[in-house]
Every structure is written in C-alpha cells, then in structure tokens.
C-alpha cells in the first residue's frame, strides 16, 4: 500500500477536511476524519485502492466522545479515526462496502451504544439477549 497515494486521493475527494496524518510505532498511519466522511473515505479505499482488509473497528469512550478507529491492513497499517458525540452516537454503516465489518459494528454497537445507520442486523453479538443497562464499555465515572 502506498500511503502517500491514499492521502493524496483522500485530499482530492474530501477537499474541506484536514486529514492530520500521524504515524504510530509498528508502521501504522492514522488519519482523522469527521463522521460523515468515513463512508466516502472507505468507499474510496475499496474502489480505487482495492483496500478491502478491515482488520477490525475499535470503539472507545474517551470521556468526552466516542472514538471509532477503522484499522485497515495491506502490507502496512492504515487507521481512520473519527469521533461521535456521546449523547447521539450514530454513523453510517460500512457493511455495504465491506461485508466483513458486520460483526465489528455489532460489537461496537452493543459495547458503546453506537448506532450504525443502514446495518442489516444490529442485534447483540456477545451480550445476552436479556442484557439491561448501560453499554458496558461506556465510562461510568472518572478513572482514578
């Protein structure tokens, strides 16, 4: 995967967005996007770069927001990061582009209460059917 070419194409397609690319140890590049740009960006990765291996989606409640990280891999890692408001955490599904994301989105949905619009079945993946209460990975109180 040529990360520079991917960045160039994303800048062309989403001219209004500052991508703020950052690199992690172990050859990973991270790009920050607003929530409504995630679906078009994933579409671009799939169609133009044939980047179809989504390793997983990480969700995290940072206290101020719900962060979603889409980890792609093709020879090296590429992560798309977006953040959603805690009160109304919704985002468009990417399962229409990458059917393998079905389980990842279901897990983020039950663990953090994120709604993926357009997902074919957002039924709980790991939690029991009669689970009640807050999504378990939402922060209840400040960590000490």
């Amino acid at each position: 995967m040529n990360v520079d070419a991917v960045l160039e194409a994303l800048r062309e397609t989403l001219p209004s967005v500052a991508l703020e690319p950052r690199t992690f140890p172990m050859d990973e590049t991270l790009i920050t996007l607003p929530p409504d740009c995630v679906h078009p960006a994933v579409g671009l990765l799939v169609e133009r770069f044939d980047l179809r291996h989504l390793s997983t989606i990480t969700g995290e409640d940072t206290g101020d927001e719900i962060a979603l990280l889409y980890h792609f891999w093709d020879g090296r890692g590429l992560t798309l990061r977006t953040s959603l408001p805690r009160e109304d955490a919704r985002i468009a599904t990417v399962t229409d582009l990458i059917p393998g994301a079905t389980f990842y989105e279901r897990e983020v949905s039950e663990m953090l209460g994120v709604v993926f619009d357009g997902h074919p079945n957002l039924h709980a993946l790991l939690l029991p059917d009669d689970w009640e209460g807050e999504p378990p990975l939402r922060r209840q109180e400040e960590r000490q």
Binding site: M26, H53, S55, F103
Partner: protein, 360 residues
Amino acid sequence: MNRMTIPIGPQHPALKEPLSFLLTVEGERIVESALRIGYVHRGLERIFQDRSYVQNVHVVERVCGICSHIHTTTYCQGVEALLGLEVPPRALYLRTLLCELERIHSHMLWLGVLAEHIGFTTIFMYAWRDREIVLDIMEELSGGRVAHAVNVLGGVRIDVNQEQAHSILGRLDELERQIETFLGVIQHERTFQARTRDVGHLSVEQVRRYCVVGPVARASGVDVDLRRDAPYAAYDRLDFRVITTQAGDVWARTVVRALESIESLRMCRQLLKGLPEGPLAARASRRVPPGEVVSRCEAPRGELVYYIRSDGSDRPARVKVRTPTLTTLITLPDQLRGINTADVPTVLSGVDLCIACADR
C-alpha cells in the same frame, strides 16, 4: 418439501465450545442458518482497563486456551513499541520458538478434531498422541502445557541450554515423520477425501469480502501471512515458505495446515541451531508514555490484532482484541447453505473455531 428448524447448541455433544445454531432444513438439505455466540463472553476488554500493564500479560494469556502464547506476544510487542524498548535477540528467538511450537500443537489438535468429526478415529488418536510431543517440549521449557507464561514485557523468562536444544531437535525429527504420515493419508486416502473434498467451499471473492485471515484464506489461494508480510519477533531471520492452495474446501485447509506444521518444524530447527547469546529481557518501566499502537501477529488461525492506547499511567486506557476466529465465523452461513446436514460438523471444524477467543 416441508421446512423444519433445528436448534443446535449452545450445549451440544457435537460442539466442544458453546455456540448456538438455528438450522432451517428441507429434508437433509440446509436452506438457512443463524448463528449466536457470546456464551463465554468474560468482558476481558473491560478487565484490561483496571489492571496494570504487567498484570495484563497474565490476563491476555487467558483469552485463548489453545494459542495463549501468541496473545502475550502480540500484547507485549505492542507495549514494548510504546515504551520504545529494544528486545534482546535471544528473547526474540525464544518467543518465536514458542510461537511455532504452539502452531504445531494447534494444527495437530485441529486435525484430531476434524478426523473425529468425519469418523476417522485412527487419525484422531494418532494426531493427539503425537501432539503430546510438542506439549511435553513446551512443558519442559516453561512449566505449562497450555498457559506458558513465557513472555514478560521486554523479553522472556525462560532459557534453553545446549542439552535441551539437542533433545528437542531429536523429538522434532520424530514428529516430522508422523506428520508426513498424516499428510500421506490426507492426500491419498479416499475415505478422507470423500468427506472433505468440495465441502465448505470458500472462493477468493468470499475470503476478501469477509476479511477472512489465516490458513482458511490461504487454502482459498489468498497469499497472506504476517510472518512474511510484516515480520515481527525473529521471523525476518528465518527461511520458510507460505503454504497456499487453490481448492478452498475443507480438504485444502487440511493440506495447508499439515504443510504449515512441517514448515514450523523447519523454523524450530533454525531457531534452536541459530540461538544468539545474550540477555533474556530488557528492563521495562511500569509507566508507559502516552501513545497508540496497533500490534499484529500471525496466530495459528491467522491475523491477531491488538490495539493499545496509553494515557501515560501504569494502566492501559484501552486494549482492543480482534481474534482470527471472528473473521471465519462470519462465513459459516455461506458455507452451510445448500449442504447436507451430515456435513455440518465437517464445515464447523474445518474453519478451526475458537469460541473463547471470539467471545473474549
């Protein structure tokens, strides 16, 4: 013909781990299937946030009861990258040695399970008998058959002396002869082929659509292996082949795993013969500077991913685990559609499910 719905599991004699299926059948043919997991969900990702980095080495080892060592390897190398820690070469070699021994043990365990499911009890007995060779070696090296506690942050806590290396090399030769025998049965025995050929077929397109990883992907002709594509530990210093086949059925997965086990034996020999001298671990500080890392390893079932974020304290802010089984589970409804009910156990064992891994 009348349609009928049959529930299988979560507790069922044919399944080793809890998993629930709702099969809709017309006569003997499966029309539709629905899958439910989560019966052994332990909330591990939540537990990681309340433990220190050091304590978490012991928790991640317990995500999986078969490939426990690869979990600590993936976790430790992620934390070591955040710490900017250089791991001594001897430690990397010993880590890799355990990774490959674990792959052989996992593949042989799987071969036994598949053989039992297709009614080939002889192979089941022999595969599990000979798997003991690997388990004995791992027990001698680490003190544990399944949970080895070999990795620590910064290196390993075990060592191999010349005498042990010599003894292990002899036993690996014995094991190779046995695996060659199994390979002969897989490739030439007609009853084995009759139960596994053209069963549970996955095309290249299906593999890519569902982001499938590991031996299942390689058996369908997708040439991916992190040991070669993004070398970690000591893999950049080893000579090995990545095994792929085109057939994409359960038989192809058996061939891939058997040949992979032989490649793993070759790697173990190279590691034992080329073991560099030096310390076993570097000193790791308890606090980890703020940062994020995505750590990937090739587990026996394929790409294992850990995302770790540090906020600068001695406990991780977030540890996310994606196990390879989650990617193969998603293909099961496709694989089961249209097949005969008698082939269900073959398909289920063919992908090598680890439910405890998937549920976490």
